[in-house]
Symmetry: C2
Subunit: 107 residues, 2 copies
């Protein structure tokens, strides 16, 4: 996992913040499968994720239409359903337009 | 750390993604101090953060002007300088407009 190499703004971000239920229950393998599938979608730009008390996952996309298409992807819909039934205690999804960005790299 | 209780969109998000240098070097106490100071700023809405291989921290604000004011806060400028010198190997800051959101809460 590294910082996503996104293009110059504007582009779009989906911030997915969550708390998990207890136990794995197939979560880790599905999370990996959904990551692999997302990277194959049109206009997918990158992914950043970490989990401690809460999980914060951000995916980056070229357009809101690409985000809507991914949210309606049939395999992703199955994963979303299992997420609500088994894996997540609570989550919030925020769809954002990235308006400016800057980066730092240590020498 | 919980999922931030943000208002109805539109509002603004700053996604700060980073990789750390080795050792604490005062990082944790400064991170807590900056969290405490951010919560006192005008138009601050909330904060979400987790770190594994990378750190993903999102702060939420009512306006881009509030974000600019926080980025120029004198105590925060000192912390940003130490961040570049000591704490971060690399980081990226993305300023975003949150256009829509939705939430799930398990029964």
């Amino acid at each position: 996992m590294t910082i996503a190499a996104t293009p110059a703004p504007p582009y779009y971000a989906v911030i997915f913040t969550s708390t998990r239920t207890a136990g794995d229950n197939g979560y880790e393998s599905m999370a990996q499968a959904m990551f692999d599938l997302a990277t194959q979608q049109p206009e997918f730009l990158g992914f950043e994720s970490a989990r401690e008390e809460i999980g914060v996952t951000v995916s980056y996309w070229d357009s809101p239409e690409a985000i809507s298409a991914w949210q309606k992807n049939s395999s992703h819909l199955v994963a979303q359903q299992r997420g609500r039934e088994e894996w997540y205690q609570t989550f919030k999804v925020r769809v954002c337009r990235v308006e400016r960005d800057y980066a730092f790299q240590k020498d």
